[in-house]
Assembly symmetry: C2
Homo-oligomer: 305 residues x 2
């Protein structure tokens, strides 16, 4: 895996970007928001995360007999989702798997649940609705402890679908499939900000989401767009070092060199224009360094790829 140089890390610190000791795994997923939308999909959902990706999660766990937490807070039906993940992790040899059942903001203050975070080696945020996740976890003691441990210890935090989208700084939560080409035909808000200077989107190819991501990137090119195809994940170390894991492609939209856009001049509902958006398409094993304002890091990524 390509690593950022010491000067890159130093620069990140000068820009106030703490270098986390933990690892992130953001997975493109294949979970639907409701049973109505995709009947009978609940079971295949979780199974769709291939063994390759789940095995990588397990491999990254630190310590002997690691505890894995399943957090189905994004789901409107957390019980079957959680049950399936517990089964999958057990099959992969994890002996200690616990479910953290958070359905309200009060649940996210519960000291018992925070103790679970203290003891965990890995955490899996399941799919569902990313807006549910930020509404319930945003600013909560549960999230605070999770972030603190991710920054200062070797905690592995994985998220699939909504769980992956919510990890980034800017979180896209609405937009028509195969749409998003009109101004504001896409909605975003602040994500949980585990992965800085990034906007993650999932189910990227299947739901034709590249245009809505382009809109998000044009609004603020300080956030790189990372689109995850289903059965495809990114593993992130040191907050900026990205490695692709899985059968599909990862799409990266870099807006730093946009020469012109009318996104701020047009009316809501009008089609927008962007010149000179940069795109990378990366397959399994390929690496990338999130620029985070850093031209050096960009150059590093290119030479390493």
């Amino acid at each position: 895996m390509a690593t950022a140089s010491k000067s890159t890390h130093k620069k990140a610190q000068q820009l106030g970007l703490a270098i986390p000791k933990g690892t992130l795994l953001a997975i493109g997923g294949k979970e639907s928001k409701s049973q109505e939308e995709r009947p009978d999909s609940q079971e295949e959902n979780t199974k769709f995360i291939s063994e390759q990706i789940l095995k990588r999660f397990v491999k990254e766990l630190y310590g002997k007999d690691p505890l894995v937490l399943v957090v189905p807070a994004a789901s409107s039906e957390p019980e079957p989702v959680a049950k399936e993940y517990v089964k999958l992790f057990k099959e992969l040899g994890i002996k200690r798997v616990e479910v953290v059942d958070i359905r309200t903001r009060d649940d996210a203050k519960d000291p018992e649940k925070i103790k679970q975070v203290d003891a965990a080696a890995g955490i899996m945020l399941t799919g569902g609705d990313q807006l549910r996740l930020t509404s319930i976890l945003g600013g909560s003691p549960f999230l605070e402890r999770l972030k603190e441990r991710y920054l200062n210890e070797k905690l592995v935090v994985a998220g699939t679908s909504a769980g992956a989208s919510a990890m980034s700084t800017n979180m896209i939560y609405r937009g028509e499939a195969q749409g998003g080409m009109l101004k504001d035909e896409m909605s975003s808000t602040a994500g949980l900000d585990l992965l800085k200077n990034v906007a993650i989107d999932t189910h990227f190819i299947d739901r034709g989401r590249i245009i809505r991501m382009a809109q998000a990137v044009a609004q603020n090119p300080g956030c790189i767009g990372i689109g995850l195809e289903e059965d495809t994940a990114i593993l992130v170390k040191n907050g900026i070092e990205v490695e692709v894991v899985g059968s599909g492609l990862v799409t990266i939209l870099d807006g730093m060199d946009i020469s012109s856009t009318n996104i701020y001049e047009i009316e809501s509902g009008d089609p927008f224009t962007i010149y000179d958006l940069k795109m990378h398409l990366l397959g399994d094993g390929k690496t990338y360094i999130i620029p985070a304002f850093n031209k050096e890091a960009n150059a590093g990524a290119k030479s390493a790829a």
Copy 2:
């Protein structure tokens, strides 16, 4: 001015929140997006920032014979706006005032403009359109240097109207006046993130924006909503210590204790419900500490207020 305790600062560091050495001044403003909207308002706009607020900006500047930069990048008509600010600062005794004319992303890479940032003691981001500001400055070398100096030196960064909105983590950029009560009848994206864990809104009372801010806060209570009335500003030190300056009120919406919301369950266009949003209304001289996930800091703010 109330200051956060040492333990608060330590906690912030554990959460990866760098403590900036610089100062922010976010002003509620009275600038309109276009001349069409409010004819003849361009001149009164800048004058509307009262002497009290501008004098405070000048007072906070560090060093002898400080250089002030006027950055009218948010405005579609930067020249008259810049001219007016130059005049105002000269009247307040500032001898060195320069305009940084950034109209494109290429301008935001210009080494000459970055040198201006290096030499500045204070920077004023004028009003206009906040989406223009993030589209043009987001991820640019100009913004990188500005942030680096704000974090590591005693730089004062002020913004009015759009310039204030763009400072925060989550940036609201669209919403009907006196509206915003329907899901997605409000749009936000990633701001320039100088002020962390906050969503700033301006012209707060005049344009009836409290409902759209409540929606933003419910989406992610990790960002505190700060609504600035016209002729009212917040001065922020150490990234979290807030002091109110000006003739109007500052509205703070704290969503950390929201007990229930349906924002993630309803359809786009439906009215939303939120229980237990906390509101503070603060007048001139009052202080507040941005919680940033920190219960200790909250307690500190209460005892200091």
